[in-house]
C-alpha cells in the first residue's frame, strides 16, 4: 500500500469511465441506424464493471479473510448488448424496409444515454481530482525535512 497505488486505482477508474463514455457515444451515433432484420440491427451496448482485488493482481492466492485488502481499482469485465425490444417502424419507402414494409431501429434510449454520459463524465472528473490530490500529497512528501 502506498501513494503510488492511488494513481493506478484512479487510472483504472478513468479507463473504465472512458470506455463507458465510448459505448455511450457509439449508442447515440447508431441511434438511428436502421436495418431490415432483427439480427442485423444495432443494439445498445453497456459495459459491465467489476472491482479488482490487490492479491489477484500480484498473482498470489488470497489467504482466507486475507489482510488489508483495500482493492486495486475497477476493471471492465465486458460489454453486453441490451436485450430490450427493437423499435419497429412502418416505413415502406425506406431502402432497408422488409417485405411487409417494416424497418427495425436500434433499442437505444437517447435520453438514458445522455444521462449515462453525464454520469460517466462526472465519475471521470472525480477520478482526475483524486489523482491530483494524490499528486500533491506525493509532492509534499518529497519536501519532507527540507526546511
Amino acid at each position: 500500500m502506498s501513494l503510488g497505488n492511488i494513481f493506478d486505482i484512479a487510472g483504472s477508474g478513468m479507463t473504465a469511465q472512458s470506455l463507458r463514455l465510448n459505448t455511450t457515444a457509439s449508442n447515440i451515433a447508431n441511434a438511428e441506424t436502421a436495418s431490415s432484420s432483427t439480427g442485423e440491427t444495432y443494439r445498445a451496448r453497456k459495459p459491465v464493471f467489476a472491482a479488482v482485488q490487490q492479491s489477484l493482481l500480484n498473482g498470489n492466492q488470497p489467504a482466507f479473510g486475507s489482510a488489508a485488502e483495500g482493492g486495486a481499482g475497477v476493471r471492465v469485465e465486458g460489454v453486453v448488448e441490451s436485450d430490450a425490444d427493437l423499435q419497429m417502424r412502418y416505413e415502406p419507402n425506406h431502402p432497408a424496409a422488409s417485405e411487409d414494409g417494416y424497418v427495425y431501429y436500434p433499442n437505444v434510449n437517447v435520453a438514458e444515454e445522455m444521462a449515462d454520459m453525464m454520469s460517466s463524465s462526472r465519475s471521470f472528473q472525480m477520478n482526475v481530482d483524486i489523482m491530483n490530490t494524490a499528486k500533491s500529497m506525493m509532492q509534499r512528501i518529497l519536501t519532507l525535512g527540507q526546511n
Binding site: 477508474g13 479473510g65 488489508a68 483495500g70 462526472r122 500533491s136 525535512g145
Partner: protein
Amino acid sequence: MAITFDSALGIHQYALQARVQRAEILANNLANADTPGFKARDIDFQAIMKQAQSTASGFDINTTHSGHITEGGSAPGSLSDNDLLYRTPHQPSVDGNTVDAQQEQSRFMRNAMDYQASFQFLSSKFSGISKALTGQ
C-alpha cells in the same frame, strides 16, 4: 542515551502512513462508484492510532514465534484483517453498490487535509532535530 527516530518522531509517522492507506481505500471506493455490488470500505482511524500508540510506547507483547498471538495483531501503522471495515450505507442502491460518491469525495478531501496536518507535524519534528544538531 540512544536516540531513535522512532521515539523522536512519535506517533506522526504512523499517522501519515495510516492517512496514505486510507487515501488508497477511499480512492478505490470512488473508482468503483459505478460497479454493481461493490461495498464501500473504510478503516477505523482511531482504532489504528490507538494500536500504533500502544505499540510505539513499548507496552506490547514480544513474540518469538510466528504462532504467538499478538495483542495489536500487526506492526504499527500496518493494516490487519480486522481494521478494514465495510461502510453502513445511508441509502442502499438497487444494484447493491454502497458507494456514495459525494460523501466519499468529501472524506477523501478531508483525509488529504489531515494528511497535510500530519505531514506538517512530522516536518517540524525533522526541523527540530536538525536545529538541535546544528546547535544554533
